[in-house]
């Protein structure tokens, strides 16, 4: 069993598991942090961005004025943003049989994998994962396509040139593999390969393994996966949460007794407690509004935003923010808010019960109804006529490189009354803000990451006790910036197996058993004999039939009736002579009883010698040895066949025959 690691990002994993003749891809996360190296895509023409000076090397030998621009002391690529894809050279992606998706954040690279690689397999995901994943992809494509860029920068990727570039660009890895965003057509084609599954539904893969999603408690429809054969079990834990937020709670008990547990998607903010951050979010928001400023919240259009809105719903009154408008701007804002309300079966119990009242499970419905929350597909159109300040705006993209957020950064960045509150943990806020510097706007970082923290995960692992744990190498040591925090790493016995991008791990377990079925008629013919109380044994003669990874014992076909003619047949055609198998023996020879039997048969002079494994009986008169051992009996008797036969029969009397 092997694990191929195609992504080094611990929360955007992409691994391939080879298990019993199947090739399973676990998630295909897209590392979007690469976009931080690019200039923002403004929705409205920005004179500031268009006037940026181009970059020329100090000695003037390299001139990339067209491709690279200097902004606030850093160099950015002036081109369509590009993403860092999962590794594609490590193994042939066309050999992948299935892709299992754990949550909508971990499927953004799907079109790159399923399209143009020869992939012919199936993708499994839950319904909310598919639908919200589609929204996020749609949003991404929309963000990119509505601001077309004429040119595409490629020269800077030249290895020789990249080496002399400044700052983070120089250290960017695998830049030549970076790709532009996919198209809507590719998205649709990729998503057409998705087959929907429900929690605990068992899916057979070629009869060899069974896969089954379990609730992971992180987001709507998010799942962990169990991949098991009859005798082996692999758990894939990716993006799980034990907090009480909107999704169904995590199913922990089904993860028990795993041989291997692949652990990814722990919190990216182990030191930031989500509750504290939520409090921070609310108080900073209230503080800004009270002072007459606006609040900008760059966020994804699904996920934490539901919890933020719910929290604000309760907070608005207590902070007397009742009259402040809240805007949610995204091409998919409407669908996201509405989808969340219809996936009742995927929600936590509390919200599920509301559906029967009947009430919308999320309170944002009420916020919309009372006009406190308004949503718009973009800043163009209706929004501009409704826009009132001071207000709170939720919009994407959290990288601040594209989407409507770019506009608000330009609009509000100059006033210190305004505040930007980062809630998504995926991007470093300082890097995200880099092209907007100098910035007067206040900036608050309260990343809300509800995924498991180290404390929770060690408790979880203690409970479910997997034999081996595989995890990204980042989890096996404290964070670089906080080397004293020994509490921010996994400490396990045996130690977890770390992986990094391009690792190929041999998973440490040997397959010992295989399940074999027996046909009823064959079973019917068996004659079990009891060898110990409660244990019976029977011998089987049968034909082993293997197909689709299923093994069946069938009765031996009867020899065809011998034709009446006495015509000689060719030897080849003669049916195989079915030999009657010799009976199998079991049991032990009791020494005292055996000696007594020997005496009855006139053998009296027996010298008994004790050995490590049993006894040696020396029949002195007959000059014969009987070695009684745990798993064998030897009679050494030269030239006295009758005696040997007699002795053999005496021994056999004490043994059971099958």
């Amino acid at each position: 069993m092997k694990l191929y690691c195609l992504s080094g990002h611990p929360t955007l994993p992409c691994n391939v598991l080879k298990f019993k003749s199947t090739t399973i891809m676990l998630d295909c996360g897209l590392d979007t942090t690469s976009v931080l190296n690019f200039l923002p895509l403004p929705l409205v023409h920005s004179s500031r961005l268009s006037k940026l000076p181009g970059w020329v090397s100090k000695d003037g030998t390299v001139n990339l004025e067209k491709e690279l621009k200097e902004c606030s002391g850093r160099v950015f690529v002036d081109s369509h943003p590009e993403f860092c894809l999962p590794e594609r050279e490590l193994l042939d992606l066309s050999t992948i049989d299935v892709i299992l998706i754990s949550n909508y954040h971990c499927m953004m690279a799907l079109p790159y994998i399923t399209e143009h690689t020869g992939f012919t397999g199936t993708v499994y995901a839950t319904e909310p994962t598919l639908q919200i994943g589609r929204l996020l992809m749609e949003e991404l494509v929309n963000f990119m396509e509505r601001v077309p860029k004429a040119q595409s920068a490629t020269c800077w990727k030249n290895k020789e040139i990249q080496r002399i570039l400044p700052g983070p660009l120089k250290d960017a890895v695998d830049v030549w593999t970076w790709k532009r965003c996919y198209s809507m057509q590719e998205v649709n084609s990729a998503l057409s390969k998705v087959q929907l599954v429900g929690y605990s539904q068992k899916v057979e893969l070629f009869g060899a393994v069974q896969v089954s999603p379990l609730s992971s408690g992180y987001s709507l429809g998010s799942s962990n996966w169990i991949i098991q054969s009859h005798h082996e079990k692999v758990s894939y834990v990716s993006g799980s949460s034990l907090l009480t937020t909107h999704p169904q709670p995590m199913d922990q008990s089904s993860l028990k007794n795993s041989d291997v547990l692949i652990l990814t998607g722990l919190t990216q903010m182990p030191t930031a407690n989500p509750d504290g951050m939520l409090g921070e979010f609310c108080s900073n928001l209230a503080m800004t509004i009270r002072a007459g400023g606006n609040v900008l919240v760059p966020c994804y259009s699904s996920g934490v935003i539901y919890d933020l809105l719910e929290c604000l719903y309760q907070f608005i009154e207590s902070a007397s923010l009742g009259t402040t408008p809240f805007y949610f701007i995204s091409p998919v804002a409407n669908s996201s808010l509405e989808f969340s309300q219809i996936f009742a079966e995927w929600l936590c119990h509390n919200k599920q019960t509301k559906v029967y009242l009947p009430e919308p499970p999320f309170p944002h419905a009420e916020l919309i109804q009372t006009n406190k929350l308004k949503h718009y597909p973009s800043i163009h159109g209706d929004f501009s006529s409704e826009f009132r300040q001071p207000c709170v705006v939720f919009t994407g993209h959290p990288s601040l490189r594209f989407g409507d957020v770019v506009h608000f950064m330009e609009l509000w960045g100059k006033s210190s009354l305004n505040t930007i509150i980062f809630t998504e943990p995926d991007f470093s806020y300082l890097d995200a803000l880099a092209p907007y510097q100098p910035l007067a706007m206040k900036c608050v970082y309260c990343p809300i990451d509800t995924r498991l923290n180290f404390h929770q995960v060690s408790k979880l692992l203690k409970e479910i006790q997997p034999l081996h744990v595989v995890c990204p190498e980042q989890y096996t040591q404290p964070p670089v910036s906080q080397s004293h925090r020994s509490d921010l790493m996994l400490e396990l016995q045996p130690p977890p197996m770390p992986y990094r991008r391009c690792s190929v791990l041999n998973l440490p377990f040997r397959r010992r058993y295989e399940r074999v079925y027996i046909l009823p008629e064959l079973a019917n013919s068996l004659v079990p004999s009891e060898i110990k109380p409660g244990i019976s044994v029977a011998t089987v003669s049968a034909v082993l039939h293997s197909k689709d990874n299923k093994h069946t014992l069938q009765s031996v076909p009867k020899p065809p009736p011998v034709p009446p003619s006495k015509k000689r047949k060719r030897v080849m055609e003669e049916p195989p002579v079915v030999l009657v198998p010799k009976p199998l023996l079991s049991g032990a020879v009791p020494l005292e009883a055996f000696l007594a039997t020997l005496q009855k048969h006139g053998i009296t002079e027996v010298k008994v010698e004790e050995t490590a494994d049993g006894h040696i009986l020396h029949l002195q008169a007959e000059d014969t040895l009987i070695q009684l051992e745990e798993d064998g009996t030897h009679i050494v008797c030269d030239n006295n066949e009758p005696l040997r036969t007699t002795l053999r029969d005496l021994v056999l009397r004490f043994l059971q025959k099958l």
Partner: protein, 906 residues
């Protein structure tokens, strides 16, 4: 004792003695006993006052079918009666005592198994053992003291109440009968022969009660108890730890109170056992054992016993770090003054801090317990208590003389600061502490709270002031941290107030820190948790109050929090808070913040006007009492700070005090009609201040006069006329402000505290404006003008009530006049009254203030109001009646269920 009670008591005794009849409730007997105890303590003799009790006791004690609770009561009552020598003698004459306390009697009746009998027995004996005769009885004849054996057995009783009572009883016997100090040189420690000789000298001294015989008896008791201690102190098995614990507690009690001979004997007896306990090292016994050893060690007079010193040293060297810390903490707690041991205990207590933070608190020398302590700290469950003990002791350590300390006190402060940093997860890479321990303390609220408490206490430590900048930085970090628990935030605020209060010079504080602090406070005012908002608002008030009262040259409040201009808007915002506690805190904080400007008589601002109108809104509309009470308090504070500066009424119209005086009328009328009685009492307090203000310096005014001694100068010449016109204008002023109405309506309030307060104030007022002693006089000339001052009474409620009373009084007086024939006066009076005639119902009318004050019968009212409303129910008479009624009701089983007597249980 009340004769009525005495007459009821025989029947009550009958009821109690009759096992068939029941009691009203299970607290009856306790109440009865309390009554008897009170009577005895006041010096009364129960047997003399209530001879029926003797008969009761002798009847009940034979009737073993009685309710066990009645029997237990009887045991305790007997003890109480025998507490005096006379009672004791009488009871013995009737041979009641022997039977009551005879163990066999109860055992044979099968009642001894009931814990309430056992506890009754112990407490009865205990009450009785107050004189030598009782001791003789307790010991009786024979080789071993008669009662001591069962008492010792009860030490391990399965009921912890019984065991504990038995334990304390032993202490009582030993301590109560121990020979007086002057005779204590050689007394009991010696053999019998010796004993007799010293006894002769004792009897010569001032101890006539202790007879020679008693000495021997006492010695026997002591011997028995000591024997028991010697045998039972060391637990034979783990299950007996509880007994050892009890005995250790007893022992430390004895050692702290016993005098020389007894003390020496105790020490001699238990020395071996103590040593064994020290060597065995039961963790649960560490603290009580330490208490015993310390009590033994601090002998006061002589050099402490070498053996005990050795034990103390061993305790401070035991090999279980957790126990070691507790032992060391005990040394500090007991205020021990042995240099070597205290210094060693300090080292032990600082060890965990030193290990975690890597601060060199203990010098370069390695500690023998270092390794085991590190191991201990690595375990989460064991680590936190140890660290907390260490932290809790640290403030005391910093205040110790230098020769006890292994490092300067400032280093300890530094260590606690760096522990606080670790706790919040901010571990700097230069920190040399034990990283494996970090994971146990990071984010631990308990450690954070202990450390913050310690930090608060450090503000007084020598040399700590130099740390102010660092302290403020950490506290700001804690206040800023999203993960801080509300209690941690609260403690951080407390520490902040304390430190800034102590360290006046904040010039070393960087601007950045100031800005951070202001930002954090602004953020916390908007916190989601109301507890946090409340703490923050409270902090703002305290900061303004404490820091300003210091009256330093540079205003600390201004320097740290940007002064009122920064905090007042925050507090104004908090007045709208949905949580009433926060609103209330905000109101008090505003009062503290504004007090300064009031005090200086600063000009009125638009902001103040806004605040006042908002407060009046709260007073009239808020649904929660806390906020409304705070509003009245706000105005009281305002009034106080204005009047200490200049009388509010005399201020110019532009000053803030004019706003105050303009609002008073509304406050009084809103406050006095509030539903919450505390609001009403506060309103009366405000009225009291107004009274003080109006009459300060007037003859006969009882209260306000103290605050203005200058005006009361004996030689001050004030013409009588001027004084009168002053009085009239003051009284009219009060009527106008509505003070008189508030007082009068308060008098008829259904809440007793309100009525009481109003009544007291009205009496003061009456003594000032129309003293009864001048009544005859005023009718003629002097008071006539004052009497003309009238006030309006509403035509409903209390107004109607007062009018009725005034009318009745008037009729009475008219009748009286008619009889005496004082026509002239009568007609004059009548005329005057006619001006503000008292008509029936409906419209409001005016009445003379003085007339009302005189008519109301305030003194009688005060008498009634002073008594608590349940005084009737709580009286012994009521108790006795209850018992009788309940038994009567029970005696007639055919009583209808609805007619059952409902007994007042409180």
């Amino acid at each position: 004792m009340d004769t009525e009670c005495v007459s009821l008591l025989p029947r009550v005794c009958e009821v109690l003695a009759d096992s068939a009849r029941s009691l009203p409730d299970d607290t009856t007997l306790e109440k009865l006993l309390d009554w008897f105890t009170g009577f005895t303590k006041a010096g009364g003799s129960l047997l003399e006052a209530c001879p029926c009790l003797l008969e009761f006791v002798s009847t009940v004690v034979y009737n073993t079918t009685s309710d066990p609770s009645v029997l237990s009561f009887t045991l305790r009552l007997t003890g109480l009666m025998a507490a005096s020598e006379d009672g004791f003698i009488m009871l013995q004459e009737y041979s009641v005592l022997d039977l009551v306390f005879k163990l066999q009697h109860w055992q044979e009746a099968g009642l001894w198994d009931d814990p309430c009998i056992r506890i009754g027995w112990i407490q009865g004996l205990w009450s009785m053992l107050q004189h030598p005769k009782a001791l003789t009885f307790f010991v009786q004849s024979g080789d071993t003291p008669y009662f001591i054996e069962p008492l010792l057995q009860l030490q391990t009783d399965r009921s912890i109440f019984v065991a504990s009572a038995a334990n304390q009883m032993l202490a009582h016997i030993l301590l109560f009968f121990q020979p007086p100090l002057s005779a204590g040189c050689n007394g009991i420690g010696k053999k019998d022969g010796d004993d007799k000789r010293t006894h002769a000298s004792i009897t010569d001294l001032d101890q006539p009660a202790i007879t020679l015989e008693n000495r021997a008896e006492y010695a026997a008791v002591v011997t028995a108890i000591l024997e028991y201690l010697k045998e039972s102190l060391v637990p034979k098995e783990n299950t007996q730890l509880h007994q050892s614990l009890q005995l250790l507690k007893l022992l430390s009690l004895l050692l702290t109170q016993a005098r020389s001979p007894l003390r020496d004997m105790l020490l001699q007896t238990v020395a071996g056992s103590l040593e064994e306990l020290v060597t065995t090292g039961y963790s649960q016994l560490t603290v009580p054992l330490m208490d015993v050893i310390l009590a033994a060690h601090s002998s006061g007079t002589d050099e402490p016993d070498k053996h005990i010193t050795h034990l103390l040293s061993s305790m401070l060297k035991i090999n279980k770090p957790a126990d070691l810390i507790h032992a060391a903490a005990a040394v500090l707690r007991r205020g021990h003054h042995d240099t070597a041991h205290t210094a060693w205990a300090v080292r032990l207590l600082l060890l965990p801090l030193s290990i975690i933070t890597g601060q060199t608190l203990l010098g370069a020398a390695g500690d023998e317990h270092h390794l085991s302590m590190v191991e201990q700290l690595k375990s989460k469950t064991l680590c936190i208590p140890v660290v907390c003990v260490s932290l809790t002791s640290s403030p005391q350590i910093t205040l110790m003389p230098a020769d006890f300390l292994p490092c300067p006190p400032v280093t300890i402060v530094t260590a606690v600061l760096s522990l606080l940093r670790v706790c919040s997860g901010h571990v700097s890479s230069s920190c040399t502490g034990c990283t494996e321990v970090f994971r146990n303390v990071i984010g631990s609220g308990k450690v954070q709270r202990c450390a913050l408490d310690a930090l608060t206490a450090f503000s007084c430590s020598p040399g700590a002031k130099e740390k102010i900048s660092e302290v403020l930085t950490i506290l700001t970090q804690y206040l800023d941290s999203p993960d801080s628990d509300p209690t941690v935030l609260h403690k951080s605020y407390q520490a902040l107030v304390k430190w800034t209060c102590v360290c006046k010079d904040l010039s070393s504080i960087k601007d950045q820190l100031r800005q951070d602090l202001i930002r954090v406070v602004k953020k916390r005012v908007c916190d989601m948790r109301w507890e946090v908002r409340d703490s923050t608002v409270e902090f703002l008030g305290k900061a303004a109050g404490v820091l300003k009262s210091a009256k330093e040259e540079h205003d600390v409040f201004e320097a740290l929090l940007g002064g009122c201009s920064c905090t007042t808007p925050l507090l104004k915002e908090a007045l709208q808070d949905p949580e009433s506690y926060v609103r209330a805190s905000a109101i008090s904080a505003l009062a503290q913040t504004l007090a300064h400007s009031w005090h200086q008589g600063a000009a009125l601002t638009q902001e103040q006007t806004e605040i006042v109108s908002r407060l009046l809104e709260i007073l009239s509309q808020d649904t929660e009492g806390f906020a409304r009470r705070a509003v009245i308090q706000f105005f009281i504070t305002w009034f106080l700070s204005c009047s200490s500066h200049s009388p509010p009424s005399s201020s110019t119209s532009s000053s803030s005090s004019s706003l105050l005086m303009n609002s008073v009328h509304s406050i009084l009328s809103l406050g006095s009609t509030d539903l919450d009685w505390e609001v009403k009492v506060h309103t009366l307090e405000l009225a009291e201040l107004l009274l003080d203000e109006a009459f300060s310096g007037h003859r006969g005014y009882g209260k306000g006069s103290n605050s203005h001694p200058a005006l009361l100068h004996p030689n001050a010449v004030v013409s009588d006329q001027a004084w009168k016109s002053d009085l009239v204008s003051a009284l009219s002023g009060l009527v106008e402000l509505g003070v008189i109405s508030v007082l009068l309506s308060g008098l008829f309030d259904c809440d007793r505290p309100v009525g009481l307060k109003a009544c007291q104030l009205l009496i003061t007022l009456r003594e000032t404006v129309c003293p009864l002693s001048l009544e005859a006089l005023d009718a003629t000339t002097a008071m006539a003008t004052v009497a003309r001052v009238s006030c309006e009474l509403p035509g409903w409620g209390w107004g109607q009530e007062i009018r009725k009373i005034v009318r009745m009084k008037k009729n009475d007086r008219a009748n009286e006049m008619a009889v005496t024939g004082a026509d002239e006066v009568c007609s004059k009076e009548h005329n005057e009254a006619g001006e503000h005639s008292v008509s029936e119902g409906g419209e409001s009318v005016c009445v003379g203030v003085c007339e009302v004050l005189r008519s109301l019968g305030l003194d009688e009212r005060l008498g009634v109001l002073t008594q608590s409303s349940d005084h009737v129910h709580n009286s012994p008479l009521s108790l006795l009646q209850d018992i009788l009624t309940a038994s009567a009701a029970h005696a007639h089983p055919d009583t209808q269920p609805g007619q059952e007597v409902i007994v007042d249980c409180y």
